[in-house]
Every structure is written in structure tokens, then in C-alpha cells.
Amino acid sequence: MSYILEILPSLLEGAQLTLKIFLWTVVGSIPLGLIVGLGLTSHFVPLKAILKFYVWLMRGTPLLLQLIFVFYGLPLIGSGALTLQRYDAALFAFILNYTAYFAEIFRGGLQSIDHGQYESAKVLRLSYLQTVRKVITPQVLKIVLPSIGNEVINLVKDSSLVYVIGLGDLLRAGNVATSRDVTLVPLILVGVIYLLMTAVLTFILRKLEQHYSYWK
């Protein structure tokens, strides 16, 4: 027990970084995902082609590779001008990657809205932006919430990939303690902390789904 208390501060410090990356990625990539999703459903062919390429690139290569590329690769290309701090590089790569996944989820949601909803908004003289904001987005959010929740839970665990660019997240903190003290206890604790985080998220997501159940 005293050992647990001894290593807990360093694990919690790691968990803090995990949560920071998680939170900012969610805050950044969900709205961006909606915007890219709208672009993917637009009728403007060049825009659609560019966004499709972006989604293909992001989903078609490992997140780990993208992290390494942003941190180690960009400085080489831009001869130093594109150098990012470790944390910023991690956030950049995560937001870029998750935006692509969220965009595909939003595209599916947007396509499942009856075209008549756009038409009834049009004859009521709502502008495109007003229609998206007041009519389409609330309906899409309800549809995509379960899939978004799935990705969000994935993100908590994917955040452990930042060890590769030398950031001290939760998993790394546990790893360090395990190899130093030759015991599995830190890794078990790490697992428990991840489970706690995903349990809280699952609870929040369920509450959100309940919130949206006021209409059918």
C-alpha cells in the first residue's frame, strides 16, 4: 500500500498529460470534424476531392507514424521553420488524425438527414448557415453520438502513443516505475486509472444520449 502511495503522484502527473491531450483533441477535432464533414457532403468537387484525400491519408497511415512525422519529420522538411514542441506536435497530430475520423462519422450523419429538411428550411428562407446550425446539426449530433463516443474512448487509449516523441503520459509513468522497481503493480494501477477515465466518459456519453432522447 505504501508503495502505491509512493508511485501514485508520478502516475497522476502522467494521467494529467493524458487528460490534457485528450481534452484538447476532443475540443479541436469534433468541431473541425463537423466542418470537414460538411465539406465532404458539399457539391463543390475540388473541395470534396481535397478533403477525401486528407481523410484517406489520415485513416490510411498509422497514428504512430503521423506523430513521428510531425515531431521529427516536419523540422527536416521546413529546415527548422516547422519545428514544434513535443506537446504541440502531439496535439497537432492527434487533432489532424481524429478530425478525419470524426469527419467521416459526421458525413454519415449528414447524409442520413432527409433532403426535405433542407428544402423546408429553404422555403422558410433560412440561409445555409442558419439551416446547418438550427436544423441539421442538432439532428446529426443525435445520430452520430454513439459513434463519436466510440472514437472518444479510443482517443483516451491512443493518447498513450505520445511516448514515442518522449512525452511523459500515464503509460510512460507506469512503464518507468515498473522497470525501475521490477514489479507489475504500477502497470496494474495504470490499467485501473485508464478504466476509471473511460468509465467516467461512458457515463457522460450515456447522459448525453439521454439528453437527446427528448425527441425521435
Partner: protein, 212 residues
């Protein structure tokens, strides 16, 4: 007065509307009838600005008018869709006040008050706080009428207003349309139901499938 002159519309080189002419006087009820596939709904979609016309002219009070690009809120063409297309995430009252608040920039209290008057006129006042999924088909249709009326349209269009309703509700729709006529509303009704058209129409336009 609404005038259509030589309206043409094609889809993928198939001619749907071939030089259609029509005149609707203010305050009258015009019924557009014809078998399915004859282009009735397409004609309505051209009038309400959901489709661009390929040829011809639309005039309101003698002035040329393009419903497809029109932004003038004094000449709104209201539409009651066959499937109503209410906004499912908004309460009945919010369905009606959304456009007046967002587009006509009305104050919320004013928009609500006007919406309640419309609902009372259609005996729906007790449904104001419900969501569309809690309403019957006939009630949804009346909400759709109220929603269109809240934009103070020049003309109100209906696409097949009787097709999704129980036969018993046909008379209710008929009475609503005739009541609106009394208040001076110009109305265009697309229907395949000739008996219904004869009961309400001041003039009837028969659309035939064009060969081509």
C-alpha cells in the same frame, strides 16, 4: 396575381414541363391535377423556388420574379410538403417561430404570440409544447400550415395535402383551405384527387405527361 408563361423544365434531357401557362388571381384557390409523373410536383417546386426553371417567365403582379434566387421577404412562397417536413428536434411552437425569429428578425415574444394565434386558429393551441413525433398526421399537417403562414407568404402551396390522411380528415383540410381563402390567402394545391380539387378550386389546371 401570379402568372406563369411558357414554363419549361427538364431532368436529364427528359422534358417534364413543356411550356406550361397558368394564372392565379389573388385570393383564389388554384388546383393542379394530373396523374402521377405528369409533373405536378415539379411545377410546384418551380413556383416555390426549389427548382430552377429552364425556360419561361414567372410574374408576380406583372413583375418578373425568380423564386429560385428571390431573397425578398415580402414575396415568400410558402410550402406545405407532402411529408410535412417538420423539424423533429423542435417543439411545435419552436417549429413555427424559428423562421420568423431568424429570418424576419422578430422578437421572440412577438413571434411566440403570433404563433400561438395561428395554432389557436387551427385548434392546436394545446399542442404547442409537444414534439412532432407526438402528433398525428393531421396535426402535423396543420403545424406545417401554421409554420408556412408565420412567414406571411404571398402564396401558400400544398403538395398532395390529402394523400397521407385518413379519408375522414379530408374535410378538415378542405375547411382549413377554404377558411384561409376567406382571409384572402392565395393558394395552390397539387393533388391527384379530382373530387377534392372540384370541391375547393376556383380554377383547375390539368397537367399531362409530356412526350419527349
Amino acid at each position: 396575381m401570379l402568372e406563369l408563361k411558357n414554363i419549361s423544365k427538364e431532368y436529364n434531357k427528359r422534358v417534364i414541363l413543356d411550356h406550361v401557362n397558368m394564372t392565379v388571381e389573388d385570393g383564389e384557390i388554384m388546383c393542379i391535377v394530373g396523374e402521377s409523373g405528369a409533373g405536378k410536383t415539379t411545377l410546384l417546386r418551380c413556383i416555390s423556388g426549389l427548382e430552377r426553371i429552364d425556360g419561361g417567365q414567372i410574374l408576380i403582379d406583372g413583375k418578373e420574379f425568380d423564386p429560385y434566387s428571390n431573397q425578398n421577404n415580402d414575396s415568400v412562397i410558402g410550402v406545405v410538403f407532402q411529408e410535412y417536413q417538420l423539424f423533429p428536434h423542435l417543439k411545435v411552437l419552436e417549429n413555427i417561430t424559428l423562421a420568423p425569429i431568424m429570418v424576419l428578425k422578430k422578437k421572440e415574444a412577438e413571434a411566440r404570440q403570433e404563433a400561438m394565434q395561428l395554432l389557436e386558429g387551427l385548434s392546436l393551441a394545446d399542442k404547442a409544447k409537444l414534439y412532432p413525433y407526438q402528433l398525428s398526421g393531421g396535426q402535423k399537417q396543420r403545424v406545417a400550415i401554421a409554420r408556412a403562414m408565420a412567414m406571411k407568404p404571398r402564396i401558400l402551396c400544398y403538395d398532395e395535402p390529402t394523400s397521407a390522411l385518413d379519408p375522414g380528415l379530408r374535410d378538415t383540410v378542405k375547411n382549413i383551405i377554404l377558411d384561409l381563402k376567406k382571409s384572402g390567402m392565395t393558394q395552390i394545391v397539387v393533388t391527384h384527387d379530382m373530387d377534392f380539387a372540384k370541391q375547393i378550386a376556383d380554377s383547375i389546371l390539368k397537367v399531362k405527361p409530356s412526350r419527349g
